[in-house]
Symmetry: C2
Subunit: 133 residues, 2 copies
């Protein structure tokens, strides 16, 4: 089961500039910052009320966020749904023939995540996230 | 102030097919259906847990959703934030020089809505919505 929208991810050229824009418009504040594997990107999670957005800033050329930025000028990249059982959710989706990018969860310091293929979800990249260590 | 994510809007070729996909994957159910002005599009609001998605299906060629479908094959179109004072929010954004698509709210049967220009929001189309008649 998915419970709520964990966050909406947005590819940006400059996460600090994006924070300034969303802070001025709606009072968004930084919740968490992390760097992707091999320094490929910076991810800044920001919140206003119950809304959480993730700014994804490519730090090197050639990665998928860098390509997205180049091709589209950035913008909405993926949506993330909270689940309490990511392993079970993936197993169930796989058993029903749904196309997954990650068949097993990826373990981050404070969450486990996995992506469903846009081809299985109306051209939307959907991330599942289970928060907690 | 914005409070929460009202919904995430997705342009699709066929809203019924999209419902079937998201229902099978995550148990989404229909909350509300409406047709756009001049029968240009169909909008189907669906929910699972606290997650609400809006499937936007163009019904005629030439409109912005039809172009989006043609150019991108559909996918994430806009995000909608709930506010308790849409008129005040728009006034405040305008006073601070933010680029708006709608300077005044558009009144729908069960909500008032307005769009902020993607140029003011990191290439993201942001909708504000105040629910209630």
């Amino acid at each position: 089961m998915v419970r709520k929208i964990d966050h909406i991810a947005i590819v940006v050229k400059d996460a600090d500039a994006a924070l300034k824009v969303y802070s001025e418009m709606f009072g968004f504040k930084v919740v968490e910052e992390m760097e992707g594997p091999a320094g490929e990107f910076k991810a800044v999670l920001v919140a206003a009320g119950d809304i959480r957005l993730e700014f994804l800033q490519p730090l090197k050329p050639g990665g998928s966020f860098a390509r997205f930025l180049e091709e589209r000028g950035g913008g909405l990249h993926h949506v993330s749904f909270t689940t309490d059982d990511i392993a079970g959710e993936l197993k169930s989706l796989k058993a029903r023939g749904k196309q997954l990018i990650n068949e097993e969860p990826i373990t981050l310091p404070t969450a486990r995540i996995a992506f469903i293929h846009p081809g299985a979800a109306e051209n939307v990249l959907v991330e599942l996230v289970q928060r907690g260590k």
